[in-house]
């Protein structure tokens, strides 16, 4: 399958001004994403997990093109995103759509649902007749499980799950090739989460979409993704197929992450090995030297502070950024 998106050694930095500093003191540099690489195939779903502040959303915004990159490349169908001309950029904006975390905040409260869903269409195909716009909006609303007679309603008249469906409809109206979902279900009830995830899966299959699915909940990501990428402080810790990553995690961070997913069986829960992470995420303004995870790693060695760990290929497309990696069984829920 052809590679549709290729991220190569991506860095995203933010310059932050220290509070109460003199105007001439240099700004602090916050590294949100540091040296991240992966490829995405057509029709594939890549899950990205990591705790809050690990740079997942920044990565999503860099791919969509709303956050400037400071080093490295994002190659969309052979074109470097940073070097695109206006026409290519417009095409990229059209082909790559995004679904947001907070379903209600992502919808303009002053516009009705029809206008919201039609906005990408009227932006990229301004000549479309009103009847045609209305027909396509109605069609898509039915497709995402909303009654098409609700087009004149406003976002505050809908529930969270319905709002997310509206957001999905807006992302799909231009028939994009890649949809970046930035924690699309984190703000929803568990029962609604399942509905929305299943809807996304169905739509992906029917429309042949590629998808980047970000979440901090591994059980949701596992359900929808072909491959999973584990991020910590803007770096890749581990990248493997969904099945392999959950069954045979090799990186200590992945193991800790997986073990934090509760098992709905008290006996199994008690019996399993659970590496517990100590402490807080270090400040991204002042990341640890060498391996960024070493301050919290249960298997830390003196050499970890030295060099950046090299990405190791352990076969079958499984990559780990830890020289002391080994398979450790951390039981996962059997369902799904």
């Amino acid at each position: 399958m052809p590679t549709i998106l290729s991220v190569q050694d991506l860095h995203v930095d933010f310059d932050i001004r220290r509070q109460g500093a003199w105007p001439w003191t240099p700004w602090q540099r916050l590294q949100a994403v540091g040296g991240l690489s992966f490829d995405l195939q057509k029709g594939e779903t890549l899950g990205i997990v990591g705790e809050s502040g690990s740079g997942k959303s920044t990565l999503a915004r860099a791919i969509v093109g709303t956050v400037p990159t400071s080093k490295g490349k994002i190659v969309w169908k052979g074109d470097d995103l940073a070097a695109m001309n206006a026409t290519a950029r417009r095409k990229h904006r059209r082909d790559v759509q995004m679904i947001f975390q907070d379903p209600l905040a992502a919808l303009n409260p002053r516009m009705n649902v029809g206008e919201i869903i039609a906005e990408p269409l009227t932006t990229h195909e301004p000549g479309t007749s009103r009847a045609e716009v209305k027909r396509r909006v109605g069609e898509l609303m039915e497709r995402v499980g909303l009654l098409s007679n609700l087009v004149n309603r406003y976002p505050h008249e809908f529930s969270g799950g319905q709002c997310q469906r509206i957001g999905i409809a807006r992302a799909l109206i231009l028939k994009p090739e890649l949809v970046v979902c930035d924690e699309p279900v984190s703000a929803l009830d568990v029962s609604v989460q399942a509905q929305v995830v299943n809807l996304l899966r169905e739509l992906q299959r029917d429309m042949g979409l590629s998808m980047i699915f970000i979440a901090h909940d591994l059980s949701v990501v596992k359900h929808i993704s072909d491959r999973i990428l584990v991020m910590y402080m803007g770096r890749v810790m581990e990248l493997a197929t969904s099945r392999e990553l959950t069954r045979e995690p090799r990186h200590p961070y992945t193991q800790a992450l997986i073990s934090s997913v509760p098992i709905p069986d008290p006996v199994a829960e008690k019996a399993r090995h659970r590496p517990i992470l100590e402490g807080e995420l270090p400040s991204p303004l002042n990341p640890p030297s060498g391996c960024v995870f070493r301050t919290r790693c249960p298997k830390v060695q003196p050499s970890c502070a030295g060099e950046l760990p090299v990405m190791q290929d352990v076969g079958n497309g499984h990559h780990v950024a830890c020289p002391y990696q080994e398979v450790q069984q951390v039981l996962v829920t059997q369902q799904a």
């Binding site: 417009r90 904006r93 759509q97 992502a106 919808l107 303009n108 906005e119 990229h124």
Partner: protein, 308 residues
């Protein structure tokens, strides 16, 4: 069974298949506003004052610049308000019909207030929203311009302008237009800064909507609640501002008048027991201001962003 064409629609309606009418935030706000009795009363009063200013002239028995020389100067004491003589509100110190002059003055005062508020809404909102949305250096430059304009003592500049270019309504409007949008620009910019980080704006950026369209379609409608409230509270301020200038004798040119000018001339007659010359213009001045304040208050409650 035979179905007539009308029946199909009926059945569709009954089945709830017809498009449901949504209730926008504006409609919600209108409902809340309508429940506020003081605000509705203020609105009604404003409508009546507006009608008075526009159509009141038809009831006047005299034009507003007709001088009845028997009633000028000391004789003005004879020009008491009366229905028989046709001077409903009496006459002013120069023997002119006060009713006709109040009608005309109310019109000028309302116009000054509304023009000032309109300039503020259009220029101030767009300027502030643009500065806030673009951000960075552009924002800095645009807002420093506002700061500089604000630091100029406007009353002084306006008086200079009126002296140099002559007193005219146009000059007055230009002066008021120059000053009124500055505060609005700041308010709009501050609000824009909070709105532009909302996800729906980001969604629009990600889809490739052009910046100007984002400002007009996503930012401004969400600013409008606060802008409208501020504008209704700005109208009375502008009326007071104009009245003050007229009170100094620099406002509109005779024989045109405004409420401020009428109050000024009426105030000078208090010693001679001709209180009506002050009372009638003052009455219209006060109820106009009160009505605007009540409406502004009602709008603020109705459009309160907390209810979103």
């Amino acid at each position: 069974m035979i179905t007539k064409p009308g029946d199909v629609e009926l059945i569709a309606n009954a089945a709830g298949l017809a498009e449901v009418k949504g209730r926008s935030l504006w409609q919600d706000a209108r409902r809340r506003f309508m429940r506020n009795k003081a605000a509705v009363a203020g609105m009604i009063v404003l409508v009546f004052i507006g009608l008075f200013a526009v159509f009141g002239g038809f009831l006047a028995q005299y034009p507003n610049d007709y001088v009845d020389f028997t009633l000028t100067g000391a004789g003005a004491s004879n020009g008491v308000p009366s229905i028989e003589t046709g001077h409903y509100f009496g006459v002013d110190p120069d023997g002119r019909d006060l009713y006709a002059r109040t009608v005309q003055g109310t019109g000028i005062s309302l116009m000054v207030g509304i023009v000032g508020a309109m300039v503020a809404v259009v220029v101030g909102t767009l300027y502030g929203a643009t500065a806030g949305y673009v951000g960075g250096r552009t924002d800095g430059v645009m807002m420093r311009i506002v700061d500089i304009l604000m630091s100029i003592p406007f009353m002084f500049v306006l008086i200079l302008m009126l002296v140099i270019f002559g007193r005219s309504i146009l000059m007055l409007f230009i002066g008021i237009g120059l000053i009124s949008w500055l505060d609005m620009a700041r308010i709009a910019r501050g609000q824009t800064l909070t709105i532009k980080n909302k996800e729906f704006v980001e969604a629009a950026v990600a889809t490739g909507v052009r910046p100007m369209t984002i400002i007009l379609r996503h930012i401004v409608p969400n600013l409008l609640g606060i802008v409208i409230v501020y504008a209704t509270l700005l109208v009375p301020n502008m009326i007071i501002f104009e009245s003050f200038i007229s009170f100094l004798g620099l406002g509109v040119q005779e024989p045109m008048t405004s409420l401020g000018a009428l109050i000024n001339s009426g105030a000078g007659q208090m010693n001679y027991g001709r209180l009506w010359m002050l009372a009638y213009p003052l009455f219209f001045f006060l109820i106009t201001l009160f009505a605007f304040f009540f409406v502004g208050d009602g709008l603020r409650d109705a459009l309160d962003p907390k209810d979103r």
